[in-house]
Structure formats: C-alpha cells, structure tokens
Amino acid sequence: MAFEKHRNILDYTLQTLLRRKFKNAGIILVFTFVIFIVGSIVFLSYSLKREARLLFKNSPDIIVQKMRAGRHELIPVTLGNDIMGIAGVSNAGPRYWGYYYDSGAKANYTILGISTFGLENNRMLTGRLPSAHERGVAAIGRGIADVRIIKKDIGSTLYLQDADGKWMDFNIVGIFESDSEILTDDLIVMSEDDFKYLVKMPSGTATDLAVNVYNETEIPTIAGKIKERFPDSRPILRDEIIRTYDAVFSWRSGLIVTLFIGALTAFIILAWDKATGLSAEEKQEIGILKAVGWETSDILEMKFWEGVVVSLTSFLCGIIIAYVHIFFMGAFLFAPALKGWSVIYPDFRLTPFIDFYQIAILLSVTVIPYIASTIIPSWKAAITDPDIVMRG
C-alpha cells in the first residue's frame, strides 16, 4: 500500500514533467551534456594516468640533462662516470635521441639511437631492432609507415637527410605494432653510430644520461647529490614523469579549462535559476495540491521525485555516453585538441581503467545539489497557506 502511494506520486510527477516537456527536456539535455563532459574528462584523465603509471614504471629512475642559459644542451658522456661514483648509483648510460622534421610530410619524428640490442620475441615489434653498431637499418613506428606511405613494411627503405644535407637510406628491419602506438607511433630507432652520423653529434656527447639506482627510496637523495655536484644539470625523477601526466588532464589545467568552463557556467545558471524560486505556475500548482488535500510531505516527495527523475536520467545517460565517447570512439571530441597541428598522432585506444571514487564524487556534486535545489523552494511554498500561495 505504502509502495503504491509512492508510485502514484511518481506517476503524477512524471505527468507534471511531461506537461512542461520542452523546458524539462532542455534541462535534461544541458545536465546530460555537463555530466558527459566531466565524465569524459574523468575517464580520459584517469586512464591516461594509470597507463602512464603502468608503462613508465621501468623507465630510467633519473634522467640527467645539462642546462646552459636555461636551455637543454648536449651532455658530456664522461659525466656518467662521475655520477657512477655517487654511492647507490647502479648505472649511468647515455641516451641519444632528438627530433627530425620531415618537410615532405610536414611531420616531426622522434629519432632514437640505441646501443643495446633487445626486444626479442616482443609482440609489439614485427621484425627486429638495429643492433649496437649496425649501419643503415632502422625500426619505425606505425605512424611513420603511414605518413611515408611505406606499404611493404619490412624491407622498404626510409630516406633521411643528415645535418650536412646528404641523404642517408635506412633499410626497415622492424615495425612497431599499432597496439604500442601510444609509445612508438613517431619513433625511428637506429643504431647509436647512425644517429651520431645523422645529426653530426660531437664526439663524447649525448642527449642526456639515464641513471638507475639500487634502492628506489634513495632516488630523491641521489638526484639532490647530482644537482649539488653538477649545478648546471637538471635531474628529472621518474615520479616527476608520472606527475607530469597527472597534470596534463588535471582538474585545474588542460582540457577542463578549454572545454568545460562554458558548460559549467550554463549549468550553474540553470541550478541558480531553480534554487532561487519557483515560477508562478509551479506555486499555483502546489497551492492547488494543498487545497485538494495533499500533505506537505507529499509535495516534498513529489519534488524529490522530480529532482531524481531529471538528475538520475541525465547522470545515467551522461556517464554512458562519456564511456562510449572515450573508450569506443577514441575520444573524438578531445582528440582534435590534443592533436593540434600534429601530423602523426595515435588513435586513442585507451584501456578503460575506471575510478569509481571519482564517479561517486561526480554523482554527489551534481545529482544531490540538484535534488536539494528542487526541494528547498518547494518546501517554502508548501508550508505557506494554500490561499496565499495560489494568489501569488
């Protein structure tokens, strides 16, 4: 019986909402859009952060760059031996990497010179990597193969212009598979010797140094010692790398500012309009309901259901569309902002890591305030004499 009473009130509420269907459909649409945008940002940022945390757990503990006049400069390889002298350092090796602008494709590539041979039986690599001193061979990312229209994959030739303007040809011996494109899409991996020759790197220098330490807890201490001993160096900790990805899509920067401010403002205006008072028509309706014998509690229940129907419908639709947008449709709304002027960019096929805590926060900061902003003005009208309410 009690359940039937609540159901009847819900029936009546839905009837009332349908009477003003355009206004309510508008509210649901804006509300759904706000949930969709915030939900998409929550899904995208969390999955990127988790991805960064998982993928970069084995990246070098510390990267040491040399700075001159605030700019990054080539670092002497001998500095690695000095760093090896610091207690707790297990390895300090040079990294050779840089950028290559392809004026034909108008694309930026990342070129990487390696001195170690590895990645055997790796499912992300078809073929192999160049070995330490092998000349004229390279492994490339899928994005480069697409931009340069390399259809045959392995066995094709890639032409790059060296620092003197002469052409160097590289036989492609490996292609990174598309499942790894978030790491490898724009990479050209060649041997250390080829890299040095291509960019005419002065002997005894490297782009930066990768330092590993025995005990992870000592990383900040060792970074401090490096900075102290070599004041012109800039140690970058692995934690900072992960923190940078936290910042890319954080609440206070990036996409939230770019896309969300307009929608948020619209939603605040909407909620403010609801919270500051009822329309004359709504007041009259409450008065009539009171006059025909509805209790104040019934009217509050009706308004509660009104809030629940609007906000829950919007929340459920918004969150489902957000999920589909990010994980099935490759974040097509956000992707252009990220691609910018990039010629090579990966498809955002992200792993759907979901943070239920953030979803619960989203639920509590949108649905609950909306229900409250529906009930409170009605409560004011419901406790007033029906005659006064109907007269306005």
Binding site: I63, D185, A337
Partner: protein, 110 residues
C-alpha cells in the same frame, strides 16, 4: 479494453529505463574488465619497450617539443620567442609546460 492492458504506467517506464541503464553500465563494466585483462597481457611487452629504449613519454601529440616530450622540455620550449609570449601551439592549451618551480628560479616581467 485491450489498449488499457497494453499501456504501461509512467513509473513503470521510468523504472524500465533506469534498469536498462544499469544493465548497460554493468555490461560496460564487464567489457572494461575484459579490456584491462587483455591489456595486462600486452603490458609486459610495452614495459619491455619502455625499459629497452629508455622512453619517458607517451606520443599524445607531435607538434611541439614540449607536447611530444612534456617531461623533458626545457625552460624556454613553451615560449620560444620570449618568456610570456602568447602560446601559439593549439596543444599548448591542453598540455601545459612542465612545472619548474622546484628549480627555485624567479622571473618577473614588468
């Protein structure tokens, strides 16, 4: 008479909608768990690439140095013409320059 039997109450339609939404959410959750378990299989290979090539950044965009390698960018890379110049890469509004506050350098532009 027949029409009356077929017609659902509005509350029933609402409950059906909410139930359907929860079913869709459950299906999406199951799909996410399947994708995550598949990712864990590939993860070993991806981590091996990172370790072997000493990678530090994801390929999110490739238009500017500091958006390709946000963690490795230098102090000036975001503002290559002069400090405080208006950002000219569209991705700069999404990928901010790194935080250099720990370097203790203070710059005042008047």
């Amino acid at each position: 008479m027949e029409r009356k039997i077929l017609r659902f109450r509005r509350s029933t339609i609402f409950f059906i909608f909410v139930s359907m939404s929860f079913i869709i959410i459950t299906v999406l959750y199951i799909q996410s768990r399947i994708s995550i378990s598949r990712h864990h299989i590939l993860e070993k290979d991806l981590v091996e690439i990172v370790e072997n090539l000493s990678l530090t950044d994801m390929v999110l965009s490739t238009d500017a140095r500091y958006t390709r390698h946000p963690t490795q960018a230098d102090l000036f890379s975001a503002f290559q013409d002069y400090p405080g110049s208006i950002e000219h890469f569209p991705t700069g509004s999404v990928i901010p320059p790194p935080d250099f506050s720990y370097t203790g350098m203070v710059m005042r532009i008047e």
